[in-house]
Symmetry: C2
Subunit: 339 residues, 2 copies
């Protein structure tokens, strides 16, 4: 069997992290000279080809866009891909998708594979672990090598590149204000942990809206969920101990589980508790009661990201460093889950 | 701007189909000598590189699996990808996904791109249009060039390769028998057009089950849906004109729209009409009433396909031509939508 040497196999062999190998091969000052020498020698011996092949291929267009997303069984991300595909097809580009599974190492490996002459540039939403680690060397290096990157949804403010986001903070304020306008006094928040940028922004929007309406901030009304495997149980447990008149959930799955949990407590939605969620998923439309939502604009986000990337690819060399952040306006879709 | 010559641009330039260009470059006897010469000359002049690059790279392993699926905003396909990813990760392989959007041309182009040194083999579910056209040259050529292909779900019986399917016919019989056992006499069928292989098999299973129970086959109880854009209206219209005591739907979207349509007619599920669907989607679990379903085994299908492909890639050369078809057993999950 022919074995290909990869970042992963070098890391394993030398008992260092993938990130260290990747940085060493790119001659990063963060890595000691000794370590760099060892890694480079090893890579050379096994004929490892780092992705600066991309550099030499800079003038060869593949007409292919690389997408890296954290999850695939996720309606929002697949909708974004659909939006990207539509624009890419119209403009004569193909699309290749890779998944990071929210793992930093997989994200680094995916970029390495796709930058290796398969694609002209990237559209990506970063892995949870990357946001947590704050290690962005793979992104910086890829951009420095001349491959444009467009980030959407979960982006990194410090990185210089094109970005497409929705105004998560404003969307959250919009949701909570809607509940307050309908008479809510005790709004519970079902959110993710803070290192997920969109979760944090939506949490901030919630807090700001309570403050601007002179409502007290009650920590016991806030549930931050880390582990997506057992969120249903956590929401059920939380709602047993919490008395609220309405709920703002940062995604539709949290909202649906909240409705289910309330029902087992003998409470109805929206009669006893109103529920509103961030999403443009399938469940919201079909669930009974259908969910009032803040629309995440997945299709539009994908289409905008593809336009930004193609525009950058087809622009003359000296204009490539003008970056923009497009902020899409969220909209509130009123359905049956709120009074 | 540097323009890359693609199958598509050659086809456009010479005003022939992508399939003709692809066949001509592979020296297919189906294409006239004149046309072949013209296409080859053009391709050579513009330095087009056909995918038999893959041939020369036969001994270079990329450790990457290529997946081609017809649709991405589709819970079943994303679940299959998740299943593939899990096995691929465990075995040290990466995964790249491309979409055909159910277009034959896009499927041909995707295979061309991925076979071009990016992947070691394919896992795919073919486009509706490919099944309709019955043009499989791209699949045959890829396999002949030594790139293994594993087909799942929508597969082509005539092609010699590994396959993973569920027993659609048996699953359909299982669903209809379940309804009949609960007392159904008039079972309506909501299905797709016949050229979609799984739709056809499920339709056959439905017909066989009625026959074996001595129930009459009533064409007015069968709705075949082609255009997925307006299926809700079609189902509503159909159910207005049809009187049935139960419904078998080949996917959960048809089932959910049927329940909605029945409700507007003042009928309850399962009290007035029982509903059962093929799926392992999200809606089935969360919808109220939750749906009784025939499980499509998406995760298992993906995992099995990945195992078959990796096994083939790592097998000695002389054993590569032993193909197998794995048939996964469906199971019936009883929930609230049936009596």
């Amino acid at each position: 069997m022919n074995k290909k040497v990869t970042l992963k196999s070098i890391a394993k062999e030398l008992d260092v992290s993938i990130s260290t190998v990747s940085k060493a091969l790119k001659d990063s000052p963060e890595i000691s000279k000794d370590t760099k020498q060892k890694i480079k020698a090893f890579a050379k011996f096994y004929n490892y080809k780092p992705n600066n092949i991309a550099l030499s291929l800079k003038n060869r267009k593949t007409k292919t866009l690389g997408i890296i997303i954290p999850e695939i069984v996720h309606h929002f991300f697949t909708t974004v891909i659909k939006g990207i595909e539509q624009v890419a097809n119209d403009e004569g580009y193909n699309v290749i998708v890779c998944l990071s599974n929210n793992s930093f190492d997989k994200e680094v490996i995916n970029m390495e594979i796709l930058a290796n002459g398969s694609t002209d540039g990237f559209i990506m939403s970063v892995a949870k672990e990357t946001q947590q680690k704050k290690d962005y060397h793979h992104l910086v290096e890829t951009i420095n090598q001349g491959m444009p990157v467009v980030m959407f949804d979960r982006m990194i403010p410090e990185i210089n590149c094109d970005k497409v986001i929705i105004d998560d903070k404003k969307g959250a304020r919009q949701a909570v204000q809607f509940l307050i306008d309908k008479g809510a006094k005790k709004v519970a928040l079902l959110t993710t942990v803070d290192y997920v940028s969109v979760g944090k922004l939506r949490t901030t929007g919630y807090l700001e809206c309570l403050e601007s309406n002179d409502l007290p901030i009650d920590e016991s009304l806030i549930l931050k969920i880390e582990d997506m495997d057992h969120y249903a149980e956590k929401i059920e447990e939380f709602l047993k101990q919490t008395s609220c008149d309405s709920i703002f959930a940062v995604n539709e799955h949290f909202a649906v589980e909240a409705i289910r949990a309330l029902r087992t407590q003998g409470k109805s939605v929206p009669e006893d508790v109103s529920v509103i969620a961030f999403t443009d998923g399938e469940l919201s439309k079909h669930f009974i009661p259908s969910l009032t939502t803040i629309n995440q604009k997945g299709l539009e986000m994908g289409a905008t990201a593809a336009k930004l990337l193609i525009d950058k690819l087809e622009r003359p060399e000296d204009e490539k460093e003008l970056y923009q952040t497009v902020i899409l306006e969220t909209s509130l879709i009123e359905r049956e889950s709120t009074k």
